[in-house]
Subunit: 326 residues, 2 copies
């Protein structure tokens, strides 16, 4: 039932090398070629990618590590990476780690002997650097990471300057004359801290108090904003490290009949397409997911195919995308 190259060769009355040559588009005498083609299409034979992989030392597969593919940022990154790499014949294995070290370890262990390279999306994966044995197991395979750098031989980092993005956005609100501006911080990972830092910096420069609210639940924007309103009834601006939190904030503000964009400005982070769906539409910091994902994909491909590929850091800048909420 499962047919292999020997079966094809036998039935086409030739040798496996000739079949292999045919498969790899090398020269084969027309008559022989015809016979091979017939047998192949008769059985709809497909050469085993695994056997091929064993010879080539490559399955043409990469692993993409994310926290949770359900979150827009990761879904987008995974999409653009897959889209780019599939052009070159690479397949993408998704690893949902939920940010848990044990899960990360498990996946790294499983895929490291199977993939040509790994992309880590998000600063959380910096945690890996604390574990020497994990670093060891991926020490010689090409690694690309966004917003962080993995400490192995062949590692390249793609940075997006989140901190400056938030800093600029905060400035933007301050320049509108707003004073009571709150920041909603999501999680405590490196990126989250940097973002909050951007906010604090801008506020400090304007001699305004930093009002940071913290959450680990991405859909809690509504609830957090309730707290904000309890503390600061006349809040003039809310900036958040995640679009979804900002969307929740808009809902909370509107439920109190606070005019979003006027009484209180709201700014999100990511500029996912969901920003179009709130009323008013959400002004957000575009952190260049597509650009950075494509850069990650291309970098990884180069590192896989060229031992000498550049390992220089790449940095992108955020861009504030003004819409209705600020």
């Amino acid at each position: 039932m499962k047919i292999n190259i020997y079966d094809i060769a036998r039935e086409a009355d030739t040798s496996i090398s000739t079949v292999s040559r045919y498969l790899n588009k090398k020269n084969v005498r027309p008559e022989t070629k015809k016979r091979i083609e017939e047998v192949i299409s008769k059985y709809n034979y497909r050469p085993s990618a695994i056997a091929k992989g064993l010879v080539a030392h490559s399955m043409k597969t990469v692993a993409v590590f994310v926290v949770d593919i359900r979150m827009p940022h990761y879904a987008n990154a995974a999409y653009y990476i897959d889209n780019e790499l599939s052009k070159y014949g690479y397949r993408t294995i998704i690893c949902n780690t939920m940010g848990e070290l044990s899960t990360i370890f498990k996946y790294v262990d499983e895929v490291s002997s199977q993939v040509d390279g790994i992309i880590f999306i998000g600063s959380i994966f910096n945690e890996i650097n604390r574990f020497k044995d994990i670093l060891q197991t991926i020490n010689y395979i090409p690694i690309v990471s966004t917003n962080g750098k993995i400490d192995v031989k062949r590692s390249r980092a793609i940075y997006v300057d989140d901190q400056k993005g938030i800093y600029d956005a905060t400035k933007y609100l301050i320049n509108q004359g707003r004073k009571t501006i709150c920041y909603i911080q999501y999680t405590n990972n490196v990126s989250a801290l940097k973002k909050a830092e951007g906010y604090k910096l801008a506020m400090a420069e304007a001699k305004l108090p930093a009002l940071v609210y913290h959450t680990n639940e991405i859909f809690s924007g509504y609830d957090i904003t309730k707290n904000i309103l309890f503390d600061y009834r006349f809040v003039e601006g809310i900036i958040s490290g995640e679009d979804l939190l900002a969307m929740g904030a808009i809902r909370a503000l509107r439920s109190q009949n606070i005019e979003v964009g006027k009484d209180c400005a709201v700014i999100g982070f990511n500029d996912s397409r969901y920003c179009e769906l709130t009323s008013p539409t959400l002004t957000a910091i575009d952190n260049k997911i597509e650009e950075s994902a494509v850069a990650a994909a291309l970098s990884l491909k180069e590192m896989i195919e060229d031992e000498e590929a550049s390992l220089d850091d790449i940095t992108f800048n955020c861009e504030l995308k003004i819409k209705e909420s600020a």
Copy 2:
């Protein structure tokens, strides 16, 4: 640099079979075991998954075909599938097809010789049935599909009764005394048509006119609703085949100061968590993504591991999740 089982055996002064046994947790004399362990951890050796795969005829990998991982429905499905299957040591390859036949073919061709099974998410993949040679290439591998059935030997279908879901939702609005109820249809695939059918059925039973608006752009809810309002200024209900469209509808309605949930009810489809983010929150039809995805994953696993596994269809029913918009 890249070390293999021979290297380990040599340095541990034993044979590769013994190393292999150790690797597969079979009995090995304690002293030998100790030596092997030392060498393995010295080099941080990981057995090649590819070579293993060649012997086992399995890479413990499945492919999940979606239209676009960026859409919540697919991201959720992929998440739950990966989550379930990873418990059993399977990895998930994501194939973003954008619903294009050529892309579907390309991916099927590439992965069919590499994966243990395939899951197709969404009725669009019914299209495959029109192409005999594609069916041929996956004829013997386990296939699970949602909202559709692939015509191959080892195929199992998971259905969610979308039509009834929409029918019930429409009824729900009708029972509220609403008469001018519009439906926004997304794409023309089998599921989309069935959903629209559910709406039409309910409207017909109530002797109300079916008002169907059509779009192929998932973020066009706002624009479509502008059209609806142009045609029916006093529309009393909008039902949509996708949450995102309904979210856009809410925005359009509110921009016209139409009270959503009272003047005009809005119902979405999927009941993704984004429904919590609009104001008012979106009432939506829960089409049981988690349940069906888990069922798909489990079914596929069974089919992979047991030649005789059940191939009976599985059907889930939708559930209307009432929130503020209806």
